[in-house]
């Protein structure tokens, strides 16, 4: 039992829970709402009915994809702060591909998801390439690319990729064949959830059992030793940022094909940033990240009913998530490599 509490993940979850309930309670008191009412509205909104529970899993899925991508880059000692932009461009690519490429259901779904992966991968890869080739700081690069992504997507859907049947800032509704099948009928919970979980399992295998996973860890934890051992750090940077972006891009694509059924420039309410908290709480380990994504899904989704039922502005959830990030910024694994 003592060993259990010494696990870093357990301590981190404990810190996160303290922040959630501590700050949440203070915020509710500020809004003149009893924390008991506030939190019960939150949990009721997250678990109350089947469809509410499904929505919680929908939020968790939207967070799990970018969090897995972020974990991959963090493991390589690279700060991909650009998941938000990668989600948006992945969604844009999926929205356009899903509309333009008709086909039987399976084909059309595969095409849209691959389009999302490609777009996100390119966007992440740019930062990786700039890092490898010019030693450009990937933090600043991905922050810039986030803003450019939003502007680019807005320009596209209102300009060259504007279809007559679409509203401003959107692509047209996708053909039914491109919609992801639901796993709970009459909800928005689709196989995206299953894909995300399978991806987490696959990444666990990649991280622990493959050469690439080893190279990521070596580059992240001991870059000098890695270089001397013949690992091409530039190649690892490009690959890691591309994969990281591709995973976030698929996440964006699944929001389009599974939830909204069209691309909308506002498709992500900051999933790419909240996912940093998810990745950190999950200790950069895929399966724990899955647990963390579920916890944050409860927060994201419960916040809506907390606002509607208990009159606590849902933005407090962002404050909580930001504080969790700050509280867990002491990770050894991401602090190791700062001088290349």
């Amino acid at each position: 039992m003592a060993a259990f509490f010494k696990l870093r993940i357990v301590r981190d979850l404990g810190v996160a829970l303290i922040v959630v309930f501590g700050v949440g309670s203070i915020a509710m008191l500020l809004a003149r709402v009893s924390p008991i009412d506030g939190f019960s509205a939150l949990f009721d909104g997250a678990f109350g009915t089947t469809s509410e529970f499904a929505e919680t899993l929908v939020s968790a899925t939207a967070l799990l994809f970018p969090a897995l991508g972020i974990a991959l880059s963090f493991r390589a000692g690279l700060f991909n702060i650009g998941a938000e932009g990668q989600i948006i461009l992945g969604g844009l690519a999926a929205g356009v591909a899903g509309y333009l490429v008709p086909g039987p259901p399976v084909v059309s779904i595969v095409v849209t998801l691959l389009a999302g992966a490609a777009a996100g991968g390119i966007w992440g890869g740019i930062a990786g390439y700039l890092k490898a080739k010019f030693n450009a700081n990937e933090v600043i690069a991905t922050l810039m690319l986030n803003v450019v992504a939003v502007l680019f997507a807005t320009y596209c859907v209102n300009g060259p990729l504007h279809f007559p049947s679409a509203n401003e800032g959107e692509t047209p509704l996708l053909a039914r064949t491109a919609w992801l099948p639901t796993i709970i009928p009459d909800t928005r919970l689709t196989i995206a959830f299953v894909i995300a979980v399978l991806l987490a399992i696959a990444l666990r295998f990649v991280f622990t059992r493959t050469v690439f996973g080893y190279e990521l860890r070596a580059a992240g934890e001991a870059p000098d030793a890695a270089r001397r051992a013949g690992i091409d750090l530039g190649r690892v940077a490009v690959l890691a940022m591309t994969c990281s972006g591709a995973i976030a891009g698929v996440g964006g694509a699944t929001i389009v094909t599974g939830v909204l059924h069209r691309f909308n420039t506002g498709l992500s309410p900051g999933y790419g940033f909240v996912a940093i908290a998810v990745a950190l709480v999950g200790n950069l380990e895929p399966l724990w990240i899955g647990v963390a994504a579920f916890a944050f899904g409860i927060l994201q989704n419960g916040a809506l009913s907390m606002q509607a039922e208990a009159n606590v502005p849902r933005d407090i959830v962002n404050v909580i998530e930001g504080l969790v990030i700050i509280a867990l910024a002491g990770r050894r694994v991401i602090s190791a490599r700062r001088s290349t």
Binding site: A27, L30, A31, F79, I81, L130, K133, F134, N135, A136, N137, V139, I140, A141, L143, M144, L145, N146, V147, V148, L151, F152, T154, Y155, N158, G159, G270, F273, V274, I276, A277, L280, P313, D315, I316, V317, N318, V319, I320, E321, G322, L323, V324, I325, I326, A327, L328, A329, G330, R331, I334, S335, R338, S339
Partner: protein, 295 residues
Amino acid sequence: MNETLAALAAITVLTLVKATPLIFAALGGVLGERSGVVNIGLEGVMTAGAFAAVIVSGATGSAIAGAIAGVLAGAALAAILAFVATRLAYDQIVAGTGVNIVALGGAAFGLVLIYGQPGASHEVPAFGPAGERVLTILAFVLAVALALFLSRTPWGLRVRACGENPRAAAAAGIDPLRTRFWAVIAGGAIAALGGVYLSLAELDLYSDGMTAGRGYIALAAVIFGRWSPIGATGAALFFGFFSALQYTLQRAGIPSELMQALPYLAALVALAGFAGRVRAPAADGVPYVPDNVRA
């Protein structure tokens, strides 16, 4: 001829308007980074400054009181980063990202709590054109002052020593943790003025997302300006000029999104082009752990 002159004058004024908040934020960034702490949270610090300024100006009816509150709010938010980045040796990039999220969420939360509506505050007493000019002049004065501070004063030397080699600085009797702590807080106070300018000079209210990535452009301006206050100010003017051009070129039929993206694209190019030739302070972004704390 007169029309050309008028157009030039207009774009110069607009450049100054757009550059002023960037100058403040970039100067705050320079001060932090020269001490060895990267403040990714500049965007959040500006948000805190803009928001607190509006709330206090609205409550007291005094824009000056608002500005002071904005500066204090920015310093307080930066203090969180300063604490975790020094005493706890936490990762500065990750913590700074958290700071941004906290500030944006906190302002949105406060807006609903205080004004009972999401999105934007009511209009509050603001500085007006005269105050706007004073703030712009203040930005340039601060740039020169910070340059002199860093290059000519013993405190400036201490700050730079902590950014280059904190261990040697410690051996010389300087406390790197304390120096960095106060440099980040002072940097936050300066950067917050950028937010104050946005909400009380350019406008007279706070609206969600009004900083619109300016804190990130300021980070690029720091690099572009080679970590010097004067250089960063020049870079901020350059980015401000691009923002100003946006309005002119938009009338020429160039898509506004492309124009808005220009400063960011310029920053990306600068990042790639300059990265090999300029050098950040050697210990920039590296947590300092005193020897006696190490196991």
